[in-house]
């Protein structure tokens, strides 16, 4: 029997190198409606496959219900709003191609979506070149600001400004920070360090670990050795679950430790329920808000998608965010991007996110209310305190 003509060691080495250097690239798919002129068309770029597809799906659902609400109320300037949804699989190269296609072929007037910071920046560059407004709904800060990019998710300062003094008051002054190793967690840590210092606390440990970490024991041991009173975690994705589970198993994450950050988000509740029940978390929107608009949205979301877990915050941000953008489009003269963009910058808009919400011109981030929620068993993120407007006017380069 002949041996196959294959050099096994070379093959293994090639595969190993490929796995180190690459991830799984997602493919682009498209859906949507016919190309009628005269109506406003939105391009939605979201990861519907890949590691962040659950968040992308939530964003898409919130967006679609938001557009449906606008269309049910007569659309924009008498015509129904159309949209095209494409899947970037969380890959910035794909996001760039899709953004170009949406602008050049589908002639969209607005782009909405993306989940990760790198895909947001990729789309923002294309949108900026083409002068097409681009709205994001995910929380946190992007690396830089673009004149045509607008962020509806809460900023790091809006999240941490009310949270850190409370945690220090309740648990103690020694704060540890742990995050995944990429730009945003380091930005988050920078903001946290400022606020901890202002609140009279001290940073006793700061740890980062590459994404996809299966074993957190060395990091947890170092964190435990620092004996923190509070841990701020910006460990994201599946790692948020792995880290929190192992931190609990090693006796770091106990009820006596103040804990805030990404693992407390609704996205992770199904996996981490026992570890986060009873804790407080700072958010912009929760599915337990008791106003009529939020109640309707929650009921529609659950009915349309047979969904009984906590509704991710990104869905709420997308639902109210797209209504904000379409209100600006209604005020703009025609469907031209620059006109819509100007109106987005000028608009003040009432929604459950706050009365008179508007964008700060210095950083293009929505100035809206914040809430403190207490996580109840079963995944109810109940509002325990309305924190009111938490401004973030920190200037960013590139907005103008």
């Amino acid at each position: 029997m002949a041996q196959p003509h294959f050099r096994p060691r070379t093959g293994i080495l090639t595969v190993a190198a490929l796995l180190v250097l690459t991830g799984c690239g997602g493919s682009a798919i498209s859906g949507g409606q016919d190309d009628r002129s005269g109506s406003l068309k939105i391009g939605v770029i979201v990861p519907l496959t890949g590691p962040v597809s659950a968040t992308g799906t939530a964003l898409r659902r919130g967006f679609e219900l938001g557009v449906k609400k606008v269309n049910d109320n007569g659309g924009v300037n008498g015509t129904k709003v159309e949209y095209v949804v494409v899947d970037d699989a969380g890959n910035p190269a794909t996001s760039t191609q899709l953004a170009r296609r949406l602008i050049q072929q589908d002639k969209v007037s607005i782009i909405f979506g993306t989940i990760t910071g790198d895909t947001a920046e990729a789309v923002a560059r294309v949108a900026d070149d083409a002068k097409v407004p681009f709205g994001t709904a995910i929380l946190g800060d992007t690396e830089r600001c673009f004149p045509y990019q607008w962020g509806f998710g809460e900023t790091t300062r809006q999240m941490l400004t009310p949270t850190i003094p409370e945690l220090i008051k309740k648990y103690g002054k020694k704060v540890a920070i742990v995050g995944s190793d990429y730009n945003y967690p380091r930005f988050y840590a920078g903001v946290a360090k400022d606020l901890v210092k202002q609140s009279g606390g001290a940073i006793v440990a700061e740890e980062y670990s590459p994404l996809g970490q299966a074993d957190w024991q060395p990091v947890i041991t170092r964190l435990k050795d620092a004996k923190p009173d509070v841990a701020l975690s910006m460990v994201v994705g599946a790692d948020a679950v792995t880290f929190s589970q192992q931190a609990s198993q090693f006796g770091l994450l106990t009820p006596g430790l103040g804990f805030e950050g990404a693992p407390l988000d609704t996205d992770y509740y199904p996996a981490l329920s026992a570890l986060v029940d009873g804790r407080t978390h700072t958010v912009r929107w929760t599915d337990r808000l008791d106003d009529a608009e939020s109640r309707t949205f929650v009921a529609d979301y659950r009915a349309a998608h047979d969904f009984d877990a906590p509704i991710p915050e990104v869905a709420g941000n997308a639902y109210f965010g797209i209504q904000f953008l379409l209100a600006a489009a209604r005020k703009a003269d025609g469907l031209e991007g620059p006109a819509i963009n100007t109106e987005i910058g000028r608009l003040t808009f009432d929604s459950p996110l706050g009365k008179g919400t508007r964008f700060e011109s210095a950083n293009h981030r929505l100035q809206a209310d914040m809430l403190e929620v207490t996580i109840k068993p079963g995944g109810a993120y109940e509002v325990s305190k309305k924190l009111g407007r938490i401004p973030d006017t920190t200037p960013k380069t590139g907005c103008a």
């Binding site: 196959p4 293994i12 597809s53 599946a238």
Partner: protein, 307 residues
């Protein structure tokens, strides 16, 4: 002063035990998957790119089947996956076996299909599995999560059992014979096709077991197996085809290197250094003079014997 010295020694001993336990735990995970992929490689000369996805299948079985006790869920994962592996080997791998690269790509496709099916059925949201043993145990004055320790010990026992089968049974002898020279083994009356089928199922099941066993310490999601593949491939690269002991040894070295670097420095720096070291070693091993040197060494330590 004496109390301080005693306290220092106590802390040092505790951290040493901590490191050893961390290596044991990580070796259990890497070892099961590496020995599994090495069994398949020995018989078929094919790198099973679906090995990480089989880990995911085992973990999902433990996560989504909520009725039976944890041990039975692990057994169920093995029983349910065995026919699937058999089908994959019979229907998809047998024909392209003449071309190693084609077969490898088939296994990549199988892995991709498994990921997509699981994502469609259970979404990509991560899940957690409650450990069947809660609390901590004290190992030489070091408290350690009980289930994590149990995981490492069970994995160690299973790896030992597989090595025992490979080196002390007739089937192990035929596996090594096929790995060494399939044509000669066939001429001497061994059916390489049957050995390949059994090896593929056994190797795959070791990955499934790793997934089920370690599900309470990992986040269970469709792409969880992907990040495990890199250390496993390096383990396979450093082993000799058919010599499963070297695969287990390589997995142990990789687990130890990973843990030690991360104990001594930050995770970020440790990862960079880890890849530099393993790629450097891989490159050095391919140099002819290193090969000759290691061959001489093996002759010194394992003298030739008539058999």
């Amino acid at each position: 002063m004496l109390a301080l010295v005693s306290r220092f020694l106590e802390v040092k001993r505790r951290s040493q035990v901590d490191v050893l336990l961390a290596i044991l735990s990580l070796f259990g995970l890497y070892g099961l998957i590496t020995v599994g992929i090495a069994v398949i490689f020995a018989a078929t000369r094919v790198v099973n790119l679906a090995q990480g996805d089989l880990v995911m299948v085992g973990a999902y079985t433990a996560a989504v089947v909520t009725g039976p006790a944890f041990g039975w869920r692990a057994v169920l994962a093995l029983v349910a996956t065995a026919p699937l592996l058999l089908l994959v080997e019979r229907l998809l791998l047998r024909r392209p076996l003449a071309d190693g690269l084609a077969t490898m790509l088939v296994t990549w496709g199988v892995g991709m299909a498994l990921r997509q099916v699981v994502e469609l059925l259970f979404t990509s949201t991560s899940r957690a599995v409650e450990p069947p043993i809660a609390g901590t145990v004290t190992v030489l004055t070091t408290p350690y999560p009980a289930y994590r320790l149990a995981c490492g010990l069970i994995a160690l026992a299973v790896i030992g059992l597989v090595l025992l089968v490979a080196y002390r049974t007739d089937w192990g002898l035929t596996l090594r014979a096929v790995a060494d020279n399939a044509t000669m083994a066939a001429l001497l009356g061994t059916d390489p096709r049957r050995v390949r089928t059994v090896a593929f199922v056994l190797g795959g099941l070791l990955a499934v077991l790793a997934g089920a066993l370690y599900s309470p310490v990992l986040a269970v999601n469709p792409t969880m197996g992907f990040s495990l593949l890199v250390p496993v491939f390096f383990g396979l690269l450093f082993s000799r085809p058919g010599a499963l002991g070297t695969a287990a040894g390589a997995a142990l070295l990789i687990a130890a290197l990973s843990v030690l670097l991360r104990v001594w420095m930050s995770d970020v720096l440790a990862e960079v250094l880890f890849y530099l070291i393993v790629i450097g070693v891989a490159a050095l091993r391919s140099r002819p003079w290193i090969r000759r040197f290691s061959s001489w060494l093996s002759r010194i330590f394992v003298p030739a014997r008539a058999s």
